[in-house]
Every structure is written in structure tokens, then in C-alpha cells.
Symmetry: C2
Subunit: 135 residues, 2 copies
Amino acid sequence: MKKIDILKKLRSSGLRPTKQRVEIAKFLFERDKTFHFTVESLNKLLMRKLSSKISLATIYNTVHSFKAAGHLSEVEVRGNKTYFDTNVLNHHHFYDSETSELIDIDAKDVVIQKIPKAPNGKKIKNVEVFINLKN
Amino acid sequence: MKKIDILKKLRSSGLRPTKQRVEIAKFLFERDKTFHFTVESLNKLLMRKLSSKISLATIYNTVHSFKAAGHLSEVEVRGNKTYFDTNVLNHHHFYDSETSELIDIDAKDVVIQKIPKAPNGKKIKNVEVFINLKN
DNA sequence: TTTCACTTTAGAACAATTATAAACTATAAG
DNA sequence: CTTATAGTTTATAATTGTTCTAAAGTGAAA
């Protein structure tokens, strides 16, 4: 993803392309594969990569803004940390608790044959399949 | 579940049936339907119900002991709080984000036709299906 | 009974996240 | 260009959920 596209992506979702947002967006979206992270891990990676420091509060703000704009999704993982995913398409996950690593599963690789109907007055928003791994 | 069964349940899993553990176990397991809770919610409910106060640290200790003994399971819910479930059989969940409420889905009510195989050297421990609800 | 490992407890410590309020900046209007 | 201003960043405080600590208490075996 080129810089011009990063700027477009930000502007089209009502986010001013500030220096910090552009740097974070470049880091997150200029990739071939999807990227899973926590704010803590992202912070460490950015500190290593960038010369100028971005405040932790800004990383929180930015990640939340990107999520609100639909550029990031939040992953269902039990535990105290919040995981984010640059893959915003409907998909599923393997979770390796040994390494705390998430692996994407393409939506087409999971086929569900039977599912209960939603309780009274509610609708199904989405279905997430979570496959826990062991060695 | 009778008091004698509570005592048996605790003793058989190597947990001394202390006053606090018996009270918490009675509160959790003397029910017809499964019960979902966070430590915070359990604490509030116990404060309301019991005359003698149980320390928050003890509630954490006890819930973790019960989980280790297989009397409680931890539910996959994104967010900062940890949810527990008195249903320890393999099953799935609806999650209503409006009310933060979990609803059990019987394992037999979800049939998965196709699933990817585990990555190199790993095995599948279990599969959790999580159905997010909306209004 | 006595003993002792296990348990409870209050409070401190910790980790992740959110709130605050002052300084800064992108950009629209003049 | 300037300027004005609403949006943004920042350091730090505050909050929340959870775990740790160490002292006091207690179940149960001998």
C-alpha cells in the first residue's frame, strides 16, 4: 500500500493524516499477510522501528480510531489483553496458547451445517469460530 | 445439589471444604440452569446474599481453584473481564453485547461440516463457536 | 489436643486501559 | 500567506481487573 493510498484511507474515514497516524498506518497496512497484535506489542515494534517516539496514549487512540473506521478488527481471545487484526473480513482463528499466537482461518475453510436460531427479538450479527491448539 | 454433594465435590478434588468454599459452591452449583459470571459480579451477588463477608481475594482464589478442579470453565469473550461458566461440558455461546450477557448453546445444536487441519506439529484442542447477537 | 499445611484476608502491587488537560497542528477561511 | 479553531498528541493521573504478599486463621490428621 502506497503512501498516497494511506492518506486516502485516512481521509476517507474522516481521520486527519497526522504524522503519527500515517506512521502507524504504514506499519500496519503495508504488509502482504494479515497482522495480529496487542497495543503493547505494537508499541514495542514501533519504538524499535521509528526514530521519533509515539506516545502510548496516541497508539491507543489511533488503534481505536482505526477500529472505529473499520480498518482493524478486534479478535475474540480470552485473557486480559486485547488483540487486533488487520484482516477486517469475516474470518476465524486458530489460537496457540503456548505461544499466544493467533493464526487466521479463511471464512471459506470453515463450513457450519447447523446453528441454533437467535433468542427472542435478537438477530445473529456474526459467527466466530475459535480453534484452540495444543502440541 | 445437596450440601453433602457439595462437600464430596470439594473433597474429591482435593479442596478442603472451608466455610467460604462451601458458601461459594452452594451459590454456584445449586442451580438448575448454567450460570455465567465475572468475579466482580459474583462478588456483588455474594455480598447481597451472605451475612458474613467473603474477601475479594478469596473469591478469586476459589474461582481459580474450582476452575483448576474442572468445576468451572472460562469463556472466550473479548474484553477486559474474565467470564466463567458453571457448564463445564463442551458447548458454545451466544453473546449479546448490548447486555454483556452470555447464553449457552448445546454442543449438539452446532454442527460443523468443514474445518481446516491444525498447523504443523499442532493438534486441535477444542473448537469454540461464538455467535454475536444484535437487536 | 496439638500440630501444620492449607486457607483466608486486607492491602499492596501490578498490568492494561481510559481520562484529563495542556500543548500542538492540520486545514479551512479570510 | 496568516489566522482561527477543531481535531490531535502527549505526559501523567486515574481507573479497573487481577495477582501477590505476609500475617492471622483453620481443617483435619496424628
